[in-house]
Symmetry: C2
Subunit: 362 residues, 2 copies
């Protein structure tokens, strides 16, 4: 079939221009006579590509020079463990703000390596709003404060970087909203993001860390777990995920060609607004349960007024070329993920389908 509009929560849509370029270069990348997957990561061609990807990301995000940018293998989940392994010493505690599934999991997985202090949680509210900043019980001696700016499953998002004071490093899992808008990186000690939503294919993590934090002692562990070792080796401590790095680099070029993160922010704002307006304006046919100021721009949850219509909604939407609208199994209902690579036309098509569906099944 032809290309569909893809609302997958992740692995998610990639820009068509990126896919087309990867397709063109599959047998002969960069005049080498071989695929990018068939190149030594120590070769000149690959090293130049990797460096350009980092430079483009630094330019897009305005990453200060005193931050290292790492392209690591795997997913964000491993860093739920590796962050305390690297940033916390024996006996240290760390503050976790819990605002949904992923931040709860980050706190839980950290527990083998640091004393976890849940500084705030909106679990009792069903994660339908964010924990109010004045409720956070932060420890001035914490090794760091961890939070998740956007919750992919629960569909809540912090729309400003919380102020946690000057001395405790702020750590953020940006897996589902990195590159979706400009960000003041200098406010963070460490940012990490699995690639498979706004960066590229799964199997790659982008991790941005203030260099002074690389000096923290952590604990005895193999070199492969130490951020300082990866930074010293330019993310080539071992063979990196070369394909993931390459596709990420193509995505960064595409973002620059679009006009950068300011352009993406405006586009993403309009996309989310269009969909939330369609939900709110449906007279209760569709509903989003999230407190409006906490609604995610990236992951829009909605339910139908009658759950018995879910199966028909999913079947008809797929037949209309709208992919992956089924909500997470923990919550049911629907979810449309609107990452950078989802164009405005996709949201327009979804909104038109929703109106039509409501009329036909009203």
């Amino acid at each position: 079939m032809s290309r569909v509009w893809n609302f997958s929560a992740g692995p998610a849509a990639l820009p068509l221009a990126v896919l087309e370029r990867a397709q063109r270069e599959m047998l002969d990348w960069n005049g080498s006579g071989a695929s990018v997957m068939e190149q030594s990561h120590r070769g000149k061609r690959f090293i130049a590509m990797a460096a350009q990807a980092e430079a483009d990301l630094r330019e897009l995000m305005g990453i200060p020079a005193d931050y290292a940018v790492l392209f690591l293998q795997g997913g964000a989940t491993q860093h739920f463990a590796q962050i305390p392994m690297n940033l916390a010493g024996a006996g240290d505690s760390a503050d976790y703000v819990v605002s949904g599934h992923w931040s709860a999991k980050a706190a839980s997985e950290a527990g083998s390596y640091v004393r976890v202090n849940v500084a705030a949680s909106s679990e009792a509210d069903g994660y339908l709003r964010l924990p109010p900043r004045d409720s956070w019980r932060l420890d001035p001696h914490a090794a760091y404060v961890h939070y998740t700016p956007n919750e992919t499953i629960h569909g809540v998002e912090f729309h400003a970087i919380p102020d946690v004071g000057g001395t405790v490093p702020l750590v953020a899992d940006l897996s589902s909203n990195i590159l979706s808008e400009p960000l003041d990186v200098s406010r963070f000690g460490l940012i990490y993001a699995g690639a498979q939503k706004n960066i590229g294919p799964s199997g790659l993590v982008v991790l941005i860390i203030r260099r002074d934090l690389l000096q923290r002692a952590g604990r005895p562990m193999a070199r492969i777990f130490r951020y300082a070792e990866h930074a010293a080796a330019d993310s080539m401590l071992n063979t990196p995920n070369t394909w993931g790095w390459y596709v990420a680099g193509l995505t960064f070029q595409w973002l620059k060609a679009q006009g950068g993160l300011g352009t993406m922010a405006e586009r993403n704002r309009l996309k989310a607004e269009l969909l939330y307006q369609a939900i709110d304006g449906s007279g209760g046919y569709y509903r989003n349960p999230i407190e409006p100021s906490a609604r995610s721009r990236m992951n829009v949850r909605f339910t139908l007024h009658d759950g018995a219509l879910d199966a028909a909604f999913l079947q008809e939407s797929e037949a209309a070329g709208l992919l992956a609208l089924k909500g997470h199994k923990a919550l049911g209902g629907m979810r449309a993920s609107l990452y950078n690579a989802v164009p405005p036309e996709a949201v327009q098509a979804l909104v038109a389908f929703m109106r039509d569906f409501a009329q036909r099944h009203g």
Copy 2:
């Protein structure tokens, strides 16, 4: 330029048929209207593909039912740490057989998690031969015995599975020779292999573990490091490297179409024989330093009789469409890697070039 003959040690050549299929399916995989990279790993299409890849690998290698097959993210290096984390309890020791760079590194990185006993080493021999079996000082109470059947850098290979007795599990890093010949998996407790030599792109590890070993207590650690958790979750404890898994699956299909591992073993034997004969028959113009019974079929080292000719050899070979013959920087000279995806024609072209070069520069 057109496709070259690629002798890269890794990331290495992939079968042309695999690349062409990945190219064809880039925009529309499996009738989904989206790339395989854009699919949820929880979706029916991806799960079916992943299960087929595992079934094909089980068939190719004859993996017994009491072994779990895991498709994990990252590279083999992380498992230098994760294996003792999973298989060794507090106070345990493990035996390591050191026969080159990679087995030495495996022993070194394990040291944070287990008492390492170097049971045998050929370091004093410059890794030019294998440590004779009767010199191994194995501990009958070791948590496991680790060895590296093929050393990618030093170019030595075990041509039979060593007998280490009945009770201590044998663990093998098969990164550079998995799938190159039939293997009696039942002789091993655990096999692991980074994908980027004989399986697919970098960023993926195939790990095969006897299920009873999943029950070993190990130590307190995050779930993401536990093989038992990955096995229970069918390697989808977190988002897997979906692209890597897909390309690996295409490679398994290609191997089956070639006739399986028996066919590959014969093809690989002939390829290596052709190159070693050209070296040995060059009247000393080219030399391979490895004790003949330990020579690797996968990674063939050679030096020119006069190191001053190295630059010309590399330049002219590249111009002749022969990629990545430069030896590892630790050893100098040349290295030709002859993994499954390197066809006999590539070795014939290399041998012809070597003869021609020797005549012209004699």
